[in-house]
Symmetry: C2
Subunit: 329 residues, 2 copies
Amino acid sequence: MATIKDVAKKAGVALSTASYALNNSNKISEATRKKVEEAARALNYKKNGPASDLKRTKTNTIALILSDLSGPFYSELIQGVQDVAMSNGYDLIACNSIGGNDSTAVKFLREKRVDGAIILAHNISDTIALESAKNGFPIVVLDRELEGEFIFHVEVDNIQGAFSATEYLIQQGAEKLAFVSGPVNSFDNKRRLEGFEKALEEYNISKKNKWKLSGDFTREGGYRATNLLIAQQELPDGIFYANDEMAIGGMKAFEEKGITIPNDILIIGFDDINLTEFTNPPLTTIRQPKYDAGALATHLIFQVLHGEEIKHHYSLPTSLIERNSAKLT
Amino acid sequence: MATIKDVAKKAGVALSTASYALNNSNKISEATRKKVEEAARALNYKKNGPASDLKRTKTNTIALILSDLSGPFYSELIQGVQDVAMSNGYDLIACNSIGGNDSTAVKFLREKRVDGAIILAHNISDTIALESAKNGFPIVVLDRELEGEFIFHVEVDNIQGAFSATEYLIQQGAEKLAFVSGPVNSFDNKRRLEGFEKALEEYNISKKNKWKLSGDFTREGGYRATNLLIAQQELPDGIFYANDEMAIGGMKAFEEKGITIPNDILIIGFDDINLTEFTNPPLTTIRQPKYDAGALATHLIFQVLHGEEIKHHYSLPTSLIERNSAKLT
DNA sequence: CTGTTAGCGCATTCAT
DNA sequence: ATGAATGCGCTAACAG
């Protein structure tokens, strides 16, 4: 492999001259720059990234850490991150956090391979996030609340969203409300439950424990939880699924049992994933401003990298997407 | 930031000793290893990744290059890549190729930031792929055919898949067949067209140019192409959409015009994406072995990295997923 | 504008 | 088992 040394030699200039020329420094004459560039091309020279990073002590890239690269993670969110990163001249890489402390994510979090990170990965421990965030290495968490000098938090207003969802169900005539929850330790899930219960209280509806099921945020979980619900003697007339995947699983369960939505029961989801407009009936849900969340998170990274002082917590509003699964017409 | 030097000092050992201890060398006594590890923990020491990579001239990670990180890229494929990479003790990062030669992808391809790459990104030029692949840096391309000593190619058998799709349409009674194509320069698309035409030939069905529309592999493209098709005087009785997204767009167009599937027209897609079972009617399509493709591609990378001599081209079979969009019952 | 030089942090000899 | 020394490839300060 040709190194910059070879390029310099071939171009007949000093090592540093070659370096300057290749890095678009303005202290190099056009003529010599041309010469250097030509030599580089001739030798098929490519700089060694790690060496460059090492010397500069920065990488010009940020990482987006996802719990599962292959999961149905929010493509809009990524879009937001990507757009902002690109427009700041930064590179973006996505890495996954499966594998615990040996995961790629942890490696990138600790080993100075990137300049900042955005975390949306429940399986990264708070400790690791806390330890990794430092001056010059800001972290934005999207899926938990965490306090640290270089940790920032952007969240979607789960409470308000869940409240709206529940309220909508009530306004459509539901009086007996069930909640299908995600993993109990999920931050988002907790907040959504909070919003749900707040609405019940406000509208003076009693909450029943038998109508608080756990669905693990997965389609299968939603399916199982719904079957459990059906198996119990009394069916609620409205269900708030803490995410869309579970709602989709639930729809399948209802369909199998001949229970029709929205005639027999009203359901509403959360997230507004891709599939929701294709379900039968189309799923009413709470839309998260995912693009905005990604864009904001990335903005924060750069602000901190530029030494600005900023707030540590941000909350983004949701909106209700009215389709047919919760409408009594 | 603590460096390994600090760790050594704190542990009261030599620099090299600390290095050995931290890298699990077997020439270190358990006692001193403990001591070193403790010192590292106490100082919150984290090795500097780029420095390590630089010295070792390898990174232990491979890159998966996607044309758009936020796109609906194949989650199963990623899963396959991820599984194999992990089981080989390698890290995986995903990076996008938007932005041409300034893209993250190109940076990772050229600058020794990874040890190998899998490309599924039409906007990476052949030239770049060819230039980047070298001994010690194998590249597997999934979306084109490319010849090079360190370039490998795994493809899904598009021709056979398209042939089956078309044949199925014919077997279901279709006689007037249309093809909605993706981008003309797409390798996959070309092959699918080839399979389509081969089937027409074999079954003695004439191909009409007016029934070869372009849909760009997008939902909107499929929608537009289908409207074009409808606008023409004569409707075919079967359509092969070169991918599912376009088929979904097409279904929308038909629905708007009151043309029902499969009664009025038979349609079939290609890919078997997530949504297909939720469309109305569920979309019959050709399933690609995406997980296998990802896993195989990754396997190849490691074989080459281990110095094995392997074939340069691989083809994986598809299968027909029978649902209701192409069945006359 | 150019050349010389000194590390960036680490892994790896080679001597002890 | 250890310590000293070397250099991976590159950048940037400095002196010309």
